[in-house]
Symmetry: C2
Subunit: 356 residues, 2 copies
């Protein structure tokens, strides 16, 4: 019965876990992913490793992919987008459109939005960090890809850097660009990457310029302390106002707010810790499904301290960074929670129908 | 069939949501709570409000309680503890013991540990904050109870305070006491309480002394900015080393690390932002069920970036602060995820049995 089916939109960590969970509960999941391959942003952006899991990111993602690919109850549509969404809760009518333009009509009783985030475009920053100007200014994401390849070098020279810094909160906690929120994971990701750089290039000095180090829970001792004590990463509370070129290096200018004095430090590479913004898919799907979104385009869960996944439309749930800045734990836990709510919603409908 | 049943241990937010979720999926849940009433620590400690939900905490908890109390598939055991746990995954044999000493034997196919946390005892602090010495030194929890009663006064005088401060990281990020982790929620809770104090006692000046303000995600603008801009709470990056009595007030001594100078400030009340430690129940249940625990006694999920709830024992899952410092979102999302894993585990067992 089509109304026993749950549509899962997005094949990243949250969508994979949601589809796996729905199928594990004995219901059919239709998993729609616009890319050619499952794995979401961690896959397409080429992440090196997840914060607290020592394995390569691809190894972790492959486990999640296989769980879905070997599950007969998951009907997979790659290179496919949701073109229209109509009907009513318990009996939604959905048109899927493939990359080749062909369409397919499917029905589902409930839907889970897991369309994720994009990395903030540092061209939108209000400071002058020069991402599009200087080759050796890169982002957390660029660094992640280099670390996954175990080849961390200055883009301008192809040689290992001697001094590198991270600049935190690029695109986050910033009223001027309209992103007031904190992106939650960048402190942890930067600390993890800093440790990886120190392992790959032991002679390289690594600095992290931050406002607050948001290393919550076990990230504190398992990532932050480890970065300081085992990997000798230098954490400097400071605000960087400008990055300029000087000779063949970069000059980072700002204020060291602990020492209360201006600073100017020469770096071989500058890594911008870019935050999260809703993906284009999240913004579009939110509109298409008619669910409440915040001013940024993130899907707004209904204001309820004990429900992280219900949206303003009955039968439609959200999981992962489509709902705002989330870490991987948030995303997979929410995916399970969304699967429970979706399947419970279908069961209520079936019971009501049986009682009629 | 008993093996279709899930045992949920603990009736706080995570346990309530786990039981509700299991029942919503059509399986029986046996919910065991040692207290006389459902609601967990937020209930017994008398919380005023949850971080991002404007309603009184009791109103929120009552919704969760009713969802369980009106659900015929939840078998509730109040004032009951798990006395023994044997058998094997898919067919656990459990003895429950009531407060009156009577016992009951039940069977379950899977179990969810949701036994939560305790607040750190400030008597264990290594600094000299004088919680057991001075009446006007209280904890976040004491403050929560006063705020719930809408009656915020100095314990020593019964009169509204004129100047109050919070000291962050009491029992967290502290190697000397062995709690290296960050307790995750205290920055948000202190900021929320500070705003509530300013609303109740508009003439009272409120300070928060902190190391890093860990206001991740939407806590940044919805709690932290609001506390600063709407409620004029003063956030001071500083380390408090000592609280002493001076006349009828308290003298807070330490270092303002932004201004780089020693500070001494007179306060009417000092609120210690105590962190999370595993509850006695979490420590004991972990041992009884034989699941891996960390050195603190928190239940350790299996090291897997895409699974937040599986423990070292198949068929046994964990949700909420029993697994470490968690916020309410973490707890309820994990509860859903644990319910999915538990019910999927039961279904696998049934399918394997049917195939034999």
């Amino acid at each position: 019965m089509s109304s026993d089916t749950v549509l899962v939109i997005g094949g990243g960590p949250a969508g994979l876990e949601a589809a796996r969970a729905v199928a594990g509960l004995g219901h059919e999941a239709i998993l729609v992913e616009r890319r050619q391959r499952l794995g979401g942003t961690p896959d397409s952006a080429g992440y090196s490793a997840f914060a607290l899991d020592p394995r390569p990111a691809q190894e972790v993602l492959e486990v999640a992919r296989q769980a879905v690919l070997t599950q007969p109850l998951v009907q997979l549509h790659l290179e496919t987008e949701v073109k229209s969404f109509a009907g009513e809760p318990g009996d939604f009518k959905v048109t899927l459109e493939r990359a080749d333009g062909s369409t397919a009509d499917v029905s589902c009783g409930a839907a889970i939005i897991a369309t994720g985030f994009d990395h903030f475009d540092p061209g939108r920053e209000t400071q002058a960090y020069g991402y599009y100007e200087y080759e050796d200014v890169i982002t957390l994401v660029d660094a992640e890809r280099m670390l996954a390849a175990k080849h961390f070098v200055r883009p301008s020279t192809g040689k290992p850097p001697e001094q590198v810094c991270f600049i935190q909160c690029v695109g986050s906690r910033d009223r001027r660009i309209g992103n007031e929120y904190c992106s939650k994971v960048c402190c942890g990701v930067a600390s993890k990457e800093a440790s990886e750089i120190r392992e790959l290039v032991p002679d390289c000095r690594v600095f992290i310029f931050y406002i607050d180090m948001r290393m919550y829970g076990f990230w504190e001792d398992r990532i932050y302390w480890k970065a300081q004590e085992q990997h000798h990463v230098n954490f400097v509370r400071g605000i960087v106002t400008e990055v300029i070129s000087k000779g063949d290096r970069l000059l980072v200018k700002g204020e060291d707010t602990t020492m209360n004095r201006p600073m100017e430090v020469a770096m071989d590479m500058v890594i911008l810790s870019v935050g999260m913004v809703p993906s284009a898919g999240t913004q579009a799907i939110g509109k298409l499904l008619g669910v409440a979104q915040d001013k940024h385009g993130f899907i707004s869960p209904t204001a309820n301290a004990l429900d992280t996944v219900s949206t303003s439309v009955p039968g439609v749930y959200v999981a992962g960074a489509a709902a705002g800045p989330k870490d991987l734990d948030d995303s997979v836990s929410m995916a399970g929670s969304a699967a429970v709510k979706a399947v419970s919603f279908l069961r209520q409908g079936s019971m009501a129908a049986a009682a009629r």
